[in-house]
Amino acid sequence: MSEILKCEEITKKFGGLTALNKVSFNVDRGEIFGIIGPNGSGKTTLLNVITGLLKPEEGRILLDSKDITNLKPHERVKLGIARMFQGMRVFPYLPVYLNVELVARAVYGDVRLARAKTSWALTMSGLLPEAGELPTKLTPYKLRMLEFARILVSNPKVALLDEPFAGLTSGEAETMIDLVKKFNSLGITFVVVEHKLRYLMKIANRVMVLNQGVKIAEGKPEDVVRNPQVIEVYLGVS
């Protein structure tokens, strides 16, 4: 399979703290790539670097062989990177449909196309009945679906999900898994950062493990969880 996303030797520092230290990995087209690691290991920082919200001190990011390292976040969205943020981030005082439509307008420009895509994304995520509501009235699950609709509407090449199962019941998490699998089969590549390994193991083709900003393992999920270094990081024993 060809690479859709390639990160080369990414280094990100905050003052004296090195949050990411020469992290390299490739994501293949059509795969679901998992990133795990304990708190403070640099997972969210890595997503921030990929989306352009943080600029790395060193390294390159390639999307579909195009160097996007110096592009602004909104330019990356147009090129096909979409993001679900940690902690259910939406525009709380804009109606549900506008939360999605603003993304569509930014990506497509054309009003009619943006509205058609918005309707489709809201239908796919089961939010059409709540389209006119404010997100403050939505349940945590519906908020996640709103974030998912925001991803779908831009028809991305790569969707970055930051802890998509956080705050969901096991039933809701299973629905989210089904959605990720469904849209993965339709061509969207996913990069999923997650604490809950049991969910990640169900969907990820490959997993990378970060610890204190350093990549310590990468491979198939079943191999990674047996890696002694990974076990030590997670359980404190080897």
Partner: protein, 337 residues
């Protein structure tokens, strides 16, 4: 989906208050209101543009631009300088002063648009303070008139002089009033259109979560600059018109207490980002302040400020817009019955 077409009846109900107020304001001079009160209303009309400028930009993005009094005063100074040093008639200086003021306010405040939160507010407040220092210090004061200000011919003065002496003052007052009213009405309609357009919603998205807005595809810097340009245009038009009607221009135009605090208070008490609320508050608060003079004289400053502080503490998200919505709901109910 959500784009519901309103019935003709709903449309009439929703537009009735606006049209009624507009008709009343347009008829006031014909009903005998003149002199001091027409002068006050002219000022209030022009201050509406400043209130709307604050509401459109700061009320949506929460970037509190305290440099507005600089833009307001600079437009006045640009007009006066063009008139005094280049002998350009006030009517043309007025038109030229607006883009000049917008340009300078953008150049001066553009670097601070990258700064977020309270730091932007502090930085923007420094601009008028520095400008006041420049105007009143030599050698600049020699050219800018110092504390005495710059004298120039007020708007339409040459034409007024060609009229019989008994109608000169009335002509000037009426023409200023109707110009200010036209500016206020157009300003309101445009602000309403922008505030609830896709661009307006982008500004609101920035105010609610700028990082999320950027991360979901909105070019936040571009949106902020355009928003700032629109806001500056409103303030520049207000400043240039205000100055053209009341020579000389002095540093009083740049003092935040004169040209920032009243519209800022209207925007907050009205309900930031609602357009309608700040508009009503602009007329209500500024006219109340003038009316209080007749009842309590100099005590009005203390009473008025205490009143405003109480309102803002009790309901920081704005009071007037909420009252407006409640009244509208009742009116709709009464008309349905």
């Amino acid at each position: 989906m959500v784009f519901v077409k309103r019935s003709a009846r709903d449309l009439i109900i929703s537009k009735t208050p606006f049209l009624a107020v507009l008709a009343a304001l347009a008829l006031l001079p014909l009903l005998g209101v003149g002199g001091y009160w027409l002068d006050v209303l002219t000022r209030v009309n022009l201050f509406l543009l400043v209130t709307l400028a604050i509401d459109l930009y700061s009320g949506t993005t929460y970037y509190l631009n305290l440099g507005i009094s600089f833009t307001f005063g600079f437009a006045g100074y640009a007009l006066a300088l063009l008139n005094v040093y280049y002998s350009i008639p006030t009517e043309y200086s007025l038109l030229l002063a607006i883009p000049i003021s917008v340009f300078f306010s953008l150049v001066i405040l553009l670097p601070s648009l990258k700064i977020r939160g309270v730091y932007f507010a502090i930085l923007s407040l420094l601009v008028p303070i520095v400008y006041i220092g420049i105007v009143t210090a030599q050698p600049f004061s020699l050219y800018l008139g110092g504390e005495g200000g710059l004298r120039f011919k007020q708007l339409f003065l040459d034409f007024a002089r060609s009229l019989p002496s008994d109608v000169r003052l009335v002509f000037l007052q009426y023409s200023y009033y109707y110009i200010s009213l036209a500016a206020a009405v157009i300003g309101y309609l445009v602000a309403y259109k922008i505030g609830f357009s896709e661009f307006g919603f982008m500004l609101r998205a920035i105010g609610q979560d700028e990082e999320l807005a950027e991360g979901t595809g909105i070019n936040t810097l571009k949106v902020k600059i355009i928003g700032y340009l629109i806001s500056s245009s409103y303030v520049s038009i207000a400043g240039a018109l205000y100055a053209s009607m009341r020579p000389p221009v002095t540093v009083d135009l740049v003092v935040p207490a004169n040209t920032l605090i009243p519209p800022l208070t209207s925007a907050i008490v009205g309900g930031l980002g609602t357009v309608v609320g700040p508009t009503i508050a602009n007329y209500l608060l500024l006219l109340t302040y003038e009316l209080m003079w007749g009842f309590i004289g100099r005590w009005r400053v203390i009473v008025y400020m205490l009143l405003l502080i109480t309102i803002i503490v009790i309901r920081p998200q704005g009071l007037i817009f909420k009252i407006y919505l409640d009244l509208k709901k009742r009116l709709r109910g009464v008309l349905r019955e």
